[in-house]
Each structure stands twice: as C-alpha cells, then as structure tokens.
C-alpha cells in the first residue's frame, strides 16, 4: 500500500481495491460506508472533546486564568471526565413535554453537522462527498440543525426554551442569507460549487489575497454571519444564559444535553472548514503566483496540517469574539443583518462581479 501524506488519492483507492478484491461489489460498498462512518464518528467525538478543551483553555487565557488543570496533564482529560459524567447522568424529561419530539430534537441537532462534515475536503483525495454542489450541500444541510433547536424549544414545554427557540429561528433564517451571499462572492470567481474545484482554483494564491477588497469584506461578513448561524457569542441569543437561563436546552440533561453541546462545536468546525476552504484555499499550501522556490517550501508542509491550521486560526478568531463582546439584543441582531450585512453583501457581490468581469483579480 502506498501511503503519501501529500496526496491521499492512491491511499484511498488502494483501500477500495483491497475491499473489492476480498468482498463482492455490493458488500464492498457497504463495508466502505461502515468504515467511513466509523472514521467520522471517532473523528467527531475526538474533535468535539478537543474543541471543548481548547475553548476552555483559550477562554481561560483570555480571562487571566489557567482553566482546567486537575484531570490529566494540564487538564487534558477534563472533557473525557465531563463526558463520562454526562453519560451516567439521569436523562430527565419534564412532565408535560412532548416526549417523542423532545428526544428527536437532540438527534436532529447532532445529525445535521454529521452530514455536513462528509462534504469537507480534508486533503487531496481525503474527501468523502465530492460532487458539484458541495458548498450548497453543506450550507443546506447545516441549516437543518435549526429544526432541531425549534423542536427542542417547543417540545420542552418551557417558556424560556420557547423564547430561545423562536429567537434562534429568526436568527438563523436571517443570517443564512449573509453566509450564502458572502460565499457566493467567491463563487463568482471560481465558477463552481464543487469544493475540490474551489480548492484547486487557489493553487496560485488564496482567494482572500487574489480576490481584491471584495474578498476581504466577504470574509469578514462570513465570519460574523457564521458566528451568528452557529449560535455562538456574541450572538448566542438562543441560549443567552443571563436572560433565558439556557434557552432551548434548559430542560435537557445527560447525554442529550451533550448532543447539543457537541453539535455546537462540530458546527463551529464546519463553519471554520468552509471558511478555510473558500477563502484560504482549504488544504492548499500558501502559494504566491509563480514564485517557485517559496511555493516548494510551502508544499513541503503536509496539506492536512495546512487545513487544520487554517481552521484553528478561524476558530480562534471566533472564540476571541465570544470572550470579548457582550451579547446583542434580538432586534439589534436582526438590524445588524438586514440593515448592515445584507446591503453590504449585495453591493459587495456586485463589486466582485465587476472585478471578475474586468479581470482585476489576480
């Protein structure tokens, strides 16, 4: 088996060939699904746990604290301890709640990022779903999560939850627009929604550098809108612990609460991944035009590290927002979207079209 950390195509193909050689074709396909599913499950759990740990540490350092220090070296096993605690907790269901929807909501919330993560290109060849509407698929699927939030708020039979859910519904529907429009700004340049094509189009430079000023504006709008879409501070209207106690997941406990918690962090990862792919070239190393020597050095760093490095940077930025700013009010949140982000976005899209037509981009 040929293993190459720069290009996973052959590695993936060899596994496929091997499966086909030992199993009948239908069984080989199913085995492939199972393997991928298990890989993603493990990946998501590890990702969720480490993101929770990272968030707690980053937050602590912003606040002049040390964060978790007790369990494991520098508290590294803290999140594992937390998840064990959550698993063993009693799953409470409040009287008067709609039990079926109450249980279903937690699963819908976790399923959405699960499906979206399949379309994320991790490295060359390491890409499960690479079809020509990849970006559309991610944005569409990840907004299914809001159904779960709405259901959770409604079925809890708690007024705080309901307010939280309604806020979150209004918020996600509005901010979806900005996310998609800011991504469209780059699609004008790439001409394709296929994520591998988008990555490939940045071989000689990332869009945020090549796309002139409109790309930078689009990136900032994307960051703001996607923070809002993932219900994170300063846009955590749906939770708003100082107003609505915990918003839509007030009534959840134990493992179902963990689902909400995990989903938030996986969503964060997906947003950062989309941002990194569209604006920062995904797994593509930093290339500057035809400057061969520099490009070769950059190529030496494996693409998977590039990809996760970019994601880490974006996640850090989002965390920085969360741990600095006060929360907006719901009407201000909508004002920001409809009065500021959306008009700017539309003008920006026009500008980008102009740039693309005149060939001003690099």
């Amino acid at each position: 088996m040929n293993f190459n950390i720069y290009d996973f195509t052959e590695f993936v193909n060899s596994i496929k060939l091997w499966l086909n050689s030992v199993l009948p074709p239908a069984a080989a396909d199913i085995a492939g699904f199972v393997i991928i599913g298990i890989c993603f499950l493990t990946f998501i759990v590890i990702l969720g746990l480490s993101l929770v740990y990272i968030e707690r540490k980053v937050c602590a350092f912003f606040q002049q604290r040390l964060g978790p220090m007790r369990v494991g070296f520098w508290g590294t096993a803290q999140t594992i301890a937390d998840i064990i605690k959550l698993v063993f907790k009693e799953p409470l269901i409040s009287k008067g709640s709609d039990k079926f929807l109450f249980n279903l909501a937690a699963f819908i919330v976790i399923i959405a990022p699960f499906m979206a993560i399949a379309a994320v290109p991790f490295a060359k060849g390491l890409h499960v779903l690479d079809f020509d509407i990849g970006l559309f698929f991610i944005t569409a699927i990840s907004s299914i999560g809001v159904t779960g939030i709405l259901l959770a708020g409604w079925s809890s039979n708690n007024k705080y939850s309901l307010i939280g859910a309604m806020r979150s519904g209004a918020q996600i529907v509005s901010y979806e627009l900005s996310v998609i429009l800011s991504l469209l700004t780059i699609i004008v340049l790439t001409g394709s929604l296929q994520l591998s094509v988008i990555v490939e189009s940045q071989r000689d430079g990332w869009w945020i550098f090549k796309g002139n000023i409109p790309a930078i504006i689009a990136f900032f709008i994307f960051i703001i809108a996607s923070t809002a879409e993932s219900n994170r501070g300063p846009f955590d209207m749906a939770e708003a612990e100082s107003e609505l106690t915990a918003g839509f997941h007030t009534e959840y406990s134990g493992i179902k609460f963990a689902f909400f918690f995990l989903a938030e962090y996986i969503n964060l990862f997906i947003i950062a991944a989309v941002g990194a792919t569209v604006f920062f070239g995904g797994w593509m190393p930093l290339h500057i035009g035809n400057f061969e020597f520099f490009n070769n050095i950059m190529d030496f760093i494996p693409p998977i590290i590039w990809f996760f490095g970019k994601i880490a940077a974006i996640i850090f930025l989002i965390m920085w927002f969360k741990w600095t700013f006060p929360r907006l009010r719901i009407d201000q949140l909508l004002t920001l979207e409809w009065k500021y982000l959306l008009p700017i976005n539309l003008i920006n899209l026009l500008l980008m079209a102009l740039v693309a037509l005149s060939g001003w981009h690099l």
Binding site: Q64, L66, W320, T324
Partner: protein, 159 residues
Amino acid sequence: MGLKNYISDIYNGVKSLITGMKVTGHYFTHPGEIVTQQYPENRDTLKMFERFRGEVVLIHDENNMHKCTGCSACELACPNGSIEIISGKEIDPETGKSTKIIDTFVYHLSMCTFCNLCILSCPTDAIKMAQGFEHSVFDRSKLTKVLNKPGSKIMPGIK
C-alpha cells in the same frame, strides 16, 4: 449625509470592537499575568494574614495551660450563641477555697459568624482567632468543638 453616517457608524463600531479585542488579546499573549492560585496544591506556600478570622481557639502554652477563668463574658458577647461555657468548681488544696474554673469550653463553629466580639470581650485574652479555614466536614456534629484540651489547667495568677 445618510450614507456618510452609515459608513461612519460602521467604522466607529468596528473600531470599538477592535479596541476591546486588543484588551483580551493582550492578556492572551501575556500568560505571565495569570492570577489563578491553584489552591490545594499551594497549601504549603499559602499563608493567611495574621488577623484573619478563621475559628476561635483557646490558647494553650507548652505546659497545657490556658488563661480562661470561665467568666463567660464571651458567651454573653456572642450574638449567635456559638459559645457555651460549662464551668465547674475546683478546691484549692492550699487555701481550701473553691474557685470557678471551666469544665468544657464548647464552641459551635456552625453558628459562628466570626464577628470577633468574644475576643474583644475576653478580660484575660484567653481566646483568639486562628487562621485555619478548612472547616468542611461530612458530619455536622463535628462542627461542635471542645476548645480546652483534656487535662489542661488554668495558668497560675490569672483571676
């Protein structure tokens, strides 16, 4: 005009946000300024201030002698009834007079508000506030303490 306001709104808003991020960013990049004290680990170096009021103790010297005459001034001064003095009688072998001494000095830590009034009221400075603050126990009855050590006697010359 409206457009100008619109743009200056955005500019000022973004600027104020960046100012805030600068502050948190400064602390993120200066981990030396972290103020966390890791409490149970730093027990050896943790020193309370000498006036810190943690609990009432009856001062005993190395010969197991204390200065409490059992006058129960502290019992009267206490607003919460956390001190109970059960006094006994002792007959002086030389003079044959009976004097009042303490039998048990009961201190209910669970009722104490650490107001220091008992210390101020003590005429012989027999009690003081100690610095211990780790009072948590699993059984509430353990918070009722007897302050005079077994076999302790009153110091000679204290009236």
